[in-house]
């Protein structure tokens, strides 16, 4: 009997650890070797091609592949072709750190793009700073550039910009008492902090504040509690399939409050997963979902539609926001390389990236400075409403 008990307890603990850690796969790397004329510029890319964020890494790789081929076909930058070395971090911070060490010490890259996730991005920082190599992250966590590093830049709109934007939109729509549900993953926790901090300034009051764990199958209990607080509207700060479950659960509970969200639910899978429950959901994110948001005829509109059209033609599907973040990260490095005078050292490249002023990408118009390594503002965001199974610009 004693043995059975010990074994069962051990198994429970093993199961827990196993569920928390999940399965990973070793990194895979592949290099696209251009027909070199001059010495190529080597750029490392650390993204999640497997693990939880595999859905982000895929489009990111596609966007970069497409742009590298285009730049090299046009003769490269300053006569140098560009060579990309990919590393898969398997959505694992430790693997991201190992990958960046390899890229810096063995491959000798002049810049690192990535990672896909905030945790992985932060795990790379010590080695990035040790080696003095510029990094452009495609992760949206506020921490990436709120904890400013001389060497780290960021392309997505971080929560500290998106959250106040969405909260203000809720207040403007007349919803002052809001119920919040966020996930306990990096995106939800980061967003939750900003929600709590900026609610008062935006003119809203949080009347219910619930969380759930990624992987949970049902959020009816949390929603019942939120419903009891009688909010005017519900704010879902989540990345992943659970957001669709929340929308469905709310509909099934006959909750009539409008649902709001951010970049985390700006995915087609949210619409298909939530089905009818997605109708009327409002979300704030960048302009790539409906290019008219850039303003037809503007340079921003031309840049974005050119990217969207080429991507759609190449891959048979429209790019999502993550493809856009990767396009911007790569484009910013190419733009900066073009402005480097003399030898393109990592340090010179870093200075050139920081000097970026008004570079137009699909995520917005980037202007970096010594204090601002995100470079975007609320002007680069827009509110959408889901109608008829697609995004429309909200009034």
């Amino acid at each position: 009997m004693k043995r059975t008990r010990v074994i069962l307890v051990l198994l429970t603990i093993v199961a827990l650890l196993w569920a928390l850690g999940c399965a990973g796969k070793p990194g895979e790397d592949e290099s696209s070797l251009p027909e070199a004329s001059a010495e190529p510029y080597r750029i490392g890319v650390v993204i999640s091609l497997s693990g939880t964020y595999a859905g982000l890494g895929g489009p990111e790789q596609k966007a970069i592949d497409m742009e590298v081929a285009r730049i090299n076909a046009e003769g490269g930058v300053n006569g140098h072709p560009i060579e990309i070395v990919y590393e898969d971090d398997a959505t694992d911070a430790a693997k991201a750190q190992a990958a960046v060490v390899r890229l810096i010490d063995e491959v000798g890259v002049i810049a690192v793009l990535g990672a896909s996730g905030t945790g992985q991005t932060m795990a790379m920082r010590a080695d990035i700073e040790r080696a003095g190599v510029p990094q452009i992250s495609m992760a949206g966590g506020s921490a990436v550039t709120a904890q400013l590093s001389e060497w780290v830049f960021q392309t997505p709109w971080p929560n500290r910009i998106v959250v106040p934007f969405v909260l203000k939109a809720m207040a403007a729509d007349g919803y002052k008492n809001i119920a919040v549900i966020s996930d306990t993953g990096g995106y939800g926790v980061d967003g939750h902090d900003v929600i709590v901090k900026s609610a008062a300034d935006a003119g809203v009051t949080i009347v219910a504040d619930e969380t759930y764990n990624p992987g949970d199958a049902d959020m009816t209990a949390q929603l019942t509690k939120m419903r009891g607080a009688n909010p005017d509207a519900v704010l879902v700060w989540a990345a992943g399939k659970e957001a669709a479950t929340i929308a469905k659960n709310a509909r099934q509970l006959n909750m009539t409050q409008p649902i709001y969200g951010g970049s985390g639910i700006a995915r087609l899978e949210f619409i298909s997963g939530a089905g009818e429950a997605a109708e009327g959901v409002k979300l704030g994110t960048g302009k790539i979902l409906v290019p008219e948001a850039y303003g037809e005829g503007t340079e921003e509109y031309e840049v974005a539609t050119s990217f969207i059209d080429r991507y759609t033609e190449e891959y048979g599907e429209a790019p999502d926001i993550f493809a856009g973040h990767a396009y911007d990260a790569f484009g910013l490095v190419v733009d900066a390389l073009g402005r480097v005078e003399g030898e393109a050292t990592p340090a010179a490249l870093r200075d050139a990236i920081e000097a970026t002023d008004g570079w137009i990408g699909v995520g917005g118009t980037f202007s970096y400075s010594a204090e601002d390594h995100n470079g975007l503002t609320e002007d680069d965001l827009v509110m959408y409403v889901i109608e008829g199974g697609t995004w429309k610009l909200a009034e």
């Binding site: 009997m1 059975t4 429970t12 399965a23 939880t52 969380t211 009816t220 209990a221 019942t224 006959n254």
Partner: protein
Amino acid sequence: MGSAELLQYVVAGFKSGAIYALVALGFTLVYGSTGIINFAQGEFFMLGGVLSVFYYRLGLPLLLAALAGVVTTAGVGLAFERLALRPRRDAGALVLIIITIGGSMVMKSLTRHIFGPDEATLPEFTPGPSIAFGGVAIERQALWLWGLTIVAVLALTWLYRKTRFGRAMRACSLSHDAARLMGIDTARVVMVSFGLAAALGALAGLAVTPLTQTAWDVGATAGMKGFAAAILGGLGNPVASVIGGLVLGLLESLSVAFLSSTYKDAIALIVLLIVLFLRPQGLIGRARREKV
């Protein structure tokens, strides 16, 4: 808190609980005939959803797609036992358990490579608004989950108690050697119980898909909760597994209601550990006496 609201928490708890119960039944089935914990059970849950979506997207009607999903997963379960476990069947329980963990990783990675990383969904079996019952909203899909759970537990109990095969399974759980001496084809019993467990897991996975969507990575959480439910109720007994599942779901839901949603999993797990220390055989399970 009004009584309707309290009842809504109970309904929510039993909904998640039914999911855990269905997964727990798979653990119980395999444990019942082999004495090992099959850590690939969560992946059967995942495969049921992902494969049904695959067949549904091929154009099969929902019922056929679901059936095809269950049958294919059962095939995977049979093959897994035959190819991965049987060659090492004399190696001891620990080795076999580790093989199931390896198998789960393989199934998961392969699924991601074959079907891609994005989540997908199935339509609800009977679409429509929730059913109002005394101020409580009950989802139609939840009724399906409860119905499936009841059917599954009745069928399994009948199998165990009334059929030759069920008796053979129980004999195997006591002693493989003795069962073999009595003329029972133990290898076949073990293989079939894996197939049945896979089919049950698949059924749970596809019935949940309209609510939660499915993807290559849903197996780990489902497996962990189902395992916890099986332990809580008592391994090896179908009714106990179902009660374990419902209690676990209820614990989580009431934790949200009265304490905090952040700690609901931790609370459920602490209760599980307490139960394990006080009643290692589970809430319902009977202690197995080892006679010398």
